[in-house]
Symmetry: C2
DNA sequence: ACCTTGAGTTCCCTCAGGGAACCCCAAAAG
DNA sequence: CTTTTGGGGTTCCCTGAGGGAACTCAAGGT
């Protein structure tokens, strides 16, 4: 779909959208997360066209979010989340939380989440990694970061290489615009 | 774009994708959040076609995520986030966090977030709303919820009506599939 | 030799996204 | 009163992505 190139924008939201910005990709990740790992299962469960599913899987593998593992001597494979992909599932949980709050209606949420640590049905909550207090859209100021000026050279590319935490420091421009 | 109807699926992720599942909507919300509120500004900043921008704005207003406010006696308006929309921006922060970690490369993150509460440059972290411990994709079990069987009747629709917290209780089917 | 199954390809059709030009309205300028 | 300006969209056409169904291919099983 992407007629516009989101990956080149100096915005981590746009770049993330380049990876999972069309609606099938999150659903594929959800399914893989929930244990639906094979081509025909995914196709049947999602109701996606086989052609598009092939493309999406290739794209997700390309971006290091999924990996393909053989499970037989025959040419059979399953798709698994990489570490990079597993962190995207965190995003899906937040997405599900919003849908549960605002779209579930009287019927209530379709899926419940039980937290291993406490054993309770719960939901995710956003907190500041620094002070631990709640951190929402209205609780932050946006500042230009070091990568503000343009797209990154030396992109990590396909490999699920470890994330890099750059030291914060002021850059030039703010949001594009 | 949506040829497939995601809103009818018994999945809060799919339903959320029905609202912001194509790549422009999150970027529009990001811009409105950052203070870009007028049609021509949005169009110029995003590089989106005017036609598609019109459609997206109508869709977002329709779903109660944005609202349109006049700012002049002339027919001029600005777009603002509703409470429902502001909570979607939380999702954008998580998205940005993932992009910062995995896609920013050597250049570092394009935007930094300063938390009002502690004044520090920080990032969001996902925690369990119940026990406060970290809560990630691998830390939860999925269980069928009360709305598991089908799409909800009596959907909140357009209005940014308050969220409903239904009492948890077991339902019938799990994920669709 | 034939059937089955997983995992894709190929082909065609329709509709959504991109681009650019055009339009409407209200205020301000002349 | 007429013209200009500028925000906020419409309209039209073209391309290309998504949907659907049929076809292919390789490896077993019987």
């Amino acid at each position: 779909m992407q007629r516009t190139n989101f990956a080149e924008m100096a915005c981590s939201i746009a770049r993330t959208l380049d990876v999972i910005g069309e609606p099938w990709s999150p659903l594929i990740l959800r399914d893989v997360w929930a244990g639906v790992r094979r081509f025909d299962q995914l196709q049947a469960d999602l109701g996606i066209s086989r052609k598009v599913l092939t493309e999406r899987l290739a794209h997700l593998i390309d971006h290091g979010v999924l990996e393909r593992r053989p499970y037989d001597r025959r040419p059979r494979h399953e798709y698994h989340l990489t570490a990079k992909g597993a962190e995207l599932v965190d995003l899906l949980m937040v997405m599900a939380g919003w849908g549960d709050r605002w779209l579930a209606g009287e019927a209530g949420p379709p899926v419940l989440y039980r937290h291993h640590a406490c054993g309770e049905i719960s939901a995710v909550e956003l907190r500041c990694a620094h002070c631990g207090a709640p951190m929402h859209a209205g609780d932050v100021d946006l500042l230009p970061g070091p990568g503000a000026t343009g797209p990154d050279k030396s992109a990590p590319g396909a490999g699920a290489a470890g994330p890099d935490e750059s030291a914060p420091g002021p850059g030039a421009a703010g949001l594009p615009g």
